[in-house]
Every structure is written in C-alpha cells, then in structure tokens.
C-alpha cells in the first residue's frame, strides 16, 4: 500500500471528513486563537457526538473551548489558551481543567513545536531552546542532556508528538488536495508533517494550474492530504485572511451562558446554511 494519497479528487462532504476522526483520536488543529482555525470541522465533531479527543495546538481558544463545552475533548497539549482579542480567558476550557474533565499537558509553544518537529523529522525527541528554570520540565518529565559534542551546554529534549490527524483550514485547495494559505501559516506546516494523516477544510477550490504557476505558495502537497472539504466561511466566527475578519458579535453570543446557547451557535454556523451547502457540494 502506498504511503501517499494519490487520488486526484479528494473532495468529500464536511460530515464525511469529520467522520474520519474516531473517538479517542489525537488531533492537531491549525490556525491560532480566532484566526484561520478549522472551526467548521470542530463544530461537525460536536454534531457527530465525538468523545475523548486529544487536542494538540500551541494556541487554541474558541476550538478547545467549544469542544470542552460539548464534552468532546478530554485531553489537550497546549501552550496558551484564551479567546484572545478583548475576550480574555476561554471559560469552558478553564472550567474543564478546574473540574478535572480535561487533562492538560502544558507546554511552551516552542516545546510543543519541538515535539512535532521530532515526529516530522522521524526521531524520538527534539532539543528545545530555553526552558531553564521553568517548572515545565519537571512537570512533564522532560530530560535534560549534555551536548555529546562537548560544548559544555545542556538542553532539554522533548519527546515526539505525533497526532493521529492534523486538521488545517486553508484559503485554497485544488481537487487533489494541494494546500495554500494566505497570511501566516502559524504552525500548520509542522503539524502537517508531524501528524499521521492530514485533513483539510478550505474556503474554495481552484485549478491545479494556479498551484503549478506558483508552487512556492503551496504549504502542503496533495500526496500528504487524505481528504478535503470545501467550506466557505468555515473559519467562522474567526477570521480567514484576507477573506473575512473575526465576527465579534458571534463570539460574544457564543460566550453567553445558558443551556441552549451552544445549540443556537451550532445552528447559526455557515456550514449549515443552504447556500454554503450548495457551494460545498460543487467544490
């Protein structure tokens, strides 16, 4: 069996994409805070009643919060968690940690990246700069090793972090799954190399020729991508630069307390809208 994904048309509905992620899976999510996160897929995992997911992300916010609110996530490896902007802490994440519903492996963003790099490089661990004096190494049982080449320096080494899936929200894909992101890619590139499998949600599908015309703008080549879904405004209520900004009123509405708030929020998401469904169907 091939190590790559050779199909030239990987487009599937969002529900089918989410169904690939099984209960208990470890999932790296792309983007940062309210920017270009694969939020449509995150919401679909909630609709499908997924349980016991581990979320891997340097700076999760809305995604980990809504997954905690819905009882989907039970573990997280993260560096900093907040709603950000002027919204402050992520309240349902915070409650889940305080109640013991979510087990946290707390990282510095760069140590999480080091673990992902180890997986991407195919080695068992990766040195990470800094971390001196922090309580993290003891907390996470990270080992400190001396430079075997005799510089006299020592460094903390982070064990490999290999998520089952990386889920990326992209600006553009082609049918085969080449991936393009405008603006900063955050940690999406290293996530895609570290994870066992890559799933992509994209704003739109464009011709392969546009990728051929500018191959240096391709973040992930098609053969690494298992499947893609086309979902306009799929990063809502976050931003997807340069197409749309954060929907601040929607985030405020999400943060309200009340039993029906989550369901109302899920029902008002773009991916349940009829026009969006039509564009998704047409890729």
């Amino acid at each position: 069996m091939s190590s790559g994904y050779i199909s030239k048309d990987k487009r599937i509905p969002l529900a089918d994409l989410a169904a690939k992620i099984t209960d208990g899976a470890s999932v790296a999510l792309g983007g940062s805070f309210l920017h270009r996160g694969p939020f449509a897929l995150v919401r679909e995992l909630i609709r499908q009643g997924r349980r016991d997911l581990e979320i891997v992300k340097q700076s999760p916010g809305y995604d980990i919060d809504i997954l905690c609110r819905a009882g989907v996530a039970s573990k997280a490896r993260a560096g900093i968690v907040a709603m950000e902007g002027n919204f402050g802490l992520a309240p349902y994440y915070r409650k889940a940690v305080q109640d013991g519903a979510l087990t946290l492996e707390e990282h510095a963003c760069a140590s999480l990246t080091a673990g992902l790099r180890a997986a991407a490089f195919g080695v068992p661990f990766q040195p990470c700069g800094g971390l001196q004096g922090s309580a993290f190494p003891k907390l996470n049982e990270w080992q400190q090793i001396d430079d075997p080449y005799g510089s006299g320096q020592s460094v903390f080494v982070i064990p490999a972090i290999r998520p089952d899936y990386a889920v990326i929200h992209a600006s553009e894909v082609d049918a085969a799954g080449n991936v393009r992101v405008y603006g900063t890619a955050h940690w999406d590139r290293i996530m895609s190399r570290a994870a066992d499998k890559v799933l992509v949600v994209a704003e739109r599908c464009v011709d392969t020729q546009t990728f051929v015309d500018a191959p240096e703008t391709t973040l992930i080549p098609y053969f690494m991508v298992e499947a893609v879904s086309i979902c306009p405004r799929g990063a809502w209520p976050g931003s997807n630069h340069p197409d749309y900004d954060i929907d601040y009123p929607a985030v405020e509405a999400y943060l309200e307390q009340g039993d029906d708030v989550l369901q109302r929020h899920l029902d008002s998401a773009p991916e349940v809208d009829a026009d969006t469904q039509r564009s998704m169907a047409h890729g």
Binding site: R94, A108, G130, S134
Partner: protein, 244 residues
C-alpha cells in the same frame, strides 16, 4: 495631571519607552498593550526599530489597529511573513533584542506564573498558560511585561507556579515602572498621582526605590501617537484600567 496619564496611556506609553533604536522587538498573542506600544513607538519616535509580531508581520504598516494582537492585519504592508516557528528560533539563537510577554503573577526577580492560581494539578483558577514565555524569557536579550492591575495578588513574593524563569527586564503597571537591577526588580519611576508608599503597599515583593522618581509625562508625540492608534477610545475602554 489626570489628562496626562490615564492608567491605559501610562501602561502603553511606558512599554513603548522600553523599545530601543535599531533593535528587533516582538509582540505576541493576547498582548494588546505591547502591540499598541510597538505601533506607538513607530509613530512617536524619530528613530526606527525592527518590529516583528505573531501575525507574521515584519515592519507592517497598520492602518486600522485590530482588536486581536494576533490578527493578520498586523502583517499588512509587510514584505515578508515571519512564521511562528521562526521567531522562537530567532529568540533561542540569541537574536531577539526585546520581547513582550504576558504575566499573571510576577515575583521580585521578574519570574512569571501564567499557569494556575493554587496548585497546578488542582487549580483554583486555570490561567491561559505561558505561551512562549518559558522558552523566550531565558533566551531573549531583554523581556518586558505589563499588568493592568497593580496589587499584591499580581506582584507577589512567591509565585504559585514557575511558568517562566529568567526574569523580566521591565515591568509596567498602571502606577509603576520597574527595571531589573542586580537580579531584582527595582522601581524606576511611579505615576505622579500616586505616592511612593502606595506603590510599596500594593506590591507583594520588596524592591529598591533609591533611584526612582515620578514618571516623566507623556511627550506631545507620544500623546498624539496614542490618540491616532486609538481614536475612538475602544482599546482604552476594553482595557478598563483603574489607578486605584
């Protein structure tokens, strides 16, 4: 006097005063005051510095300042996108001159807790986490932080958890500016509307104030820059900083 220094303008402007010519300065996520400080410094000072940010911007031209300090708008006008991995690597190889990092609790050496109030394993309050701090604080040439509340709750003798070690070289609160001197935070200056004694009472660690004086008022250029960055007062309103 009150017109000269609101708590908000005091924090933002004094953070900007830590920025130096020609240096590489970084502002990150969840970091509205330093984002504003960097944008203020670009406008207010007649020298240039290299401003990179978590949105990937390198010397961006920011027309409308976003509410989120990681908004891609902070890369507008940038000639490159400097990735999130890149700025950590830049820092660990010793080339980050000044980084701004958040802090929930700060001790007298400038070390930071961003993780939990109470026991980490059974937190009374789970905090956001330190983000880059544990890697950047020991490796950056200088690091500065801010608190919008100056109290013994935030400026503590003993941290509940040591998220990041290495010590801030600068700390700004609504009423005081501290700098690192001989391994300890020393008072550099204080808000002219506040007594030095009040700064001591509201600080949980002991500090040297022998070289401190009331903070110099904002210059016309600093004042004008902040007004241009926050024309409708939205940031000031969101920050809701009180002096007392």
């Amino acid at each position: 006097m009150a017109e000269q220094w609101s708590g908000f303008s005091y924090v933002v402007t004094n953070l900007a005063r830590f920025i130096r010519p020609e240096e590489i300065t970084f502002s990150g996520v969840n970091s509205t005051p330093p984002m504003l400080a960097c944008l203020l410094a670009k406008r207010a000072y007649d020298w240039d510095f290299i401003y990179i940010n978590v949105a990937g911007g390198v010397d961006p031209t920011v027309e409308k300042v976003p509410l989120s300090s990681s908004d891609p708008a902070l890369a507008n006008g940038s000639a490159s996108i400097f990735s999130n991995e890149d700025f950590y690597d830049l820092c660990t190889r010793g080339r980050m001159d000044l980084t701004f990092l958040g802090a929930a609790q700060i001790d007298g050496e400038g070390n930071v807790n961003n993780s939990a109030i109470g026991d980490w394993h059974k937190p009374k309050v789970r905090l956001p986490g330190g983000g880059g701090g544990a890697v950047m604080l020991p490796t950056a040439r200088r690091a500065c932080t801010w608190r919008t509340e100056h109290s013994t709750r935030t400026l503590v003798d003993k941290l509940h958890f040591l998220t990041s070690w290495g010590g801030m070289s600068g700390v700004v609160t609504p009423i005081a500016v501290f700098v690192k001197r001989d391994g300890r935070l020393a008072l550099e200056s204080w808000h002219p509307e506040v007594e030095l004694e009040e700064v001591r009472e509201r600080t949980g660690f002991s500090f040297d104030a022998s070289q401190a004086a009331p903070t110099a008022p904002p210059t016309e250029a600093e004042r004008a820059a902040l007004a241009a960055i926050d024309p409708d007062g939205r940031f000031e309103q969101d920050a809701a900083i009180k002096l007392h």
